[in-house]
Symmetry: C2
Subunit: 221 residues, 2 copies
């Protein structure tokens, strides 16, 4: 179902291997919702900056938070053009030829501008970021007080244009190379959670919370 | 040992939590050498682009490759300012308070410009990228022919300024929050390799190569 496509233009159209390009919200949102770390691009005084930061998505809005004094918050609220990229690396594709080596990946590239979330909506936006990182954790935590909310700013970035690029599957070699005695295939790359590590000074008897129990820990099968 | 620092200025100095900032090559190179996926920032016609791509490091040079016609190759060789960011996410830090939640991570942010690698040095640069992705694979592969080399371009990005930012360890809560009955600690995030998946049409009897055997597969203990 390819519904609700983002508009296409020279900025967001995938030119290299066009079949890997996607412009529909369903595909792009699935990539965004599978992660919580974005790389955000802004330009300041002729120098691009690429800043790794957590995010939360609500519809076409991406929320980014930070200290009120941080570069991203200061610059982003001025309405400058931004680019937000989220990438999941799924594997190294080993072809018989060096040339046809590749990666399996899912990436989403978003273009737009941001504005500062007003004070009365800040806590709701922070909740969205928190839920994206670890669902249910917000409700387990001591919620922010007025001073803490004041120290934090949130940007609301509106997705104006976007594209996704996805590669899956095995290698594609030149016809004459298939006869070579060279191993070919995919070396999968997996990201997951390790066993939770309690704080050194955790009060005895406090169990691992539901938010943590809900995520799959590696090796649990 | 804090030797060979990159110069510091307003662009690369870590202002938020300065103790997490590092400017020495040893620390920055260790972060770069632990990965092979970078997010590269360039600005074109007033719009920043953040492009995920593989890289290889040789000293202060970062090699990036791509189709000769790609935006990154085309723009990068013109000498525009670039930013290359490499991020490793190590864990979600769960504090008792929502405000003190954090991430454990290692990131390196590099500023500089790039130039096109001349034809006679292209294969050596591609080898460096290949070795960064999977050591030893290049020597196992059918090497690039003249046509393949021509279709690929390589940028040599020179690190002019750089910084690393690292957070490790458990949560740091407000003194009065330690008495709360809320679990706190770190949920580690781990990236690793899955079992290699042979190409569907792999000739029978070709064993998994040394390059793949050398990397640790998850669950092997």
């Amino acid at each position: 179902m390819k519904i609700m496509n983002y508009p296409r233009n020279s900025r967001n159209t995938i030119k290299r291997v066009p079949k890997r390009g996607h412009y529909d919200r369903e595909t792009i949102f699935a990539i965004l919702d599978a992660g919580f770390l974005a790389h955000v691009g802004i330009e300041v005084d002729g120098q691009p900056f690429v800043i790794p930061t957590a995010y939360g998505r609500d519809g076409d809005t991406i929320y980014l938070h930070g200290a009120t004094t941080s570069r991203l918050i200061q610059q982003g609220q001025s309405g400058i053009r931004m680019c937000i990229t989220v990438t999941h690396l799924d594997g190294i594709v080993l072809a018989r030829s060096a040339f046809h080596h590749s990666m399996n990946y899912r990436s989403a590239v978003l273009f737009g501008t941001a504005s500062l979330v007003p004070d009365e909506k800040k806590e709701a936006a922070l909740l969205i970021i928190s839920e994206q990182i670890l669902k249910g954790r917000w409700a387990e935590s001591r919620l922010p007080n007025a001073k803490e909310l004041k120290a934090t700013s949130v940007l609301a970035f509106q997705i104006e244009e976007a594209s996704a690029k996805i590669r899956t599957g095995g290698p594609a070699d030149e016809p004459e190379d298939y006869a070579l005695p060279i191993w070919a295939g995919v070396l999968p790359i997996q990201q997951g959670y390790g066993e939770p590590v309690p704080d050194d000074v955790l009060t005895a008897g406090i169990p691992v919370p539901e938010s943590v129990k809900r995520v799959k820990v590696k090796g649990e099968g």
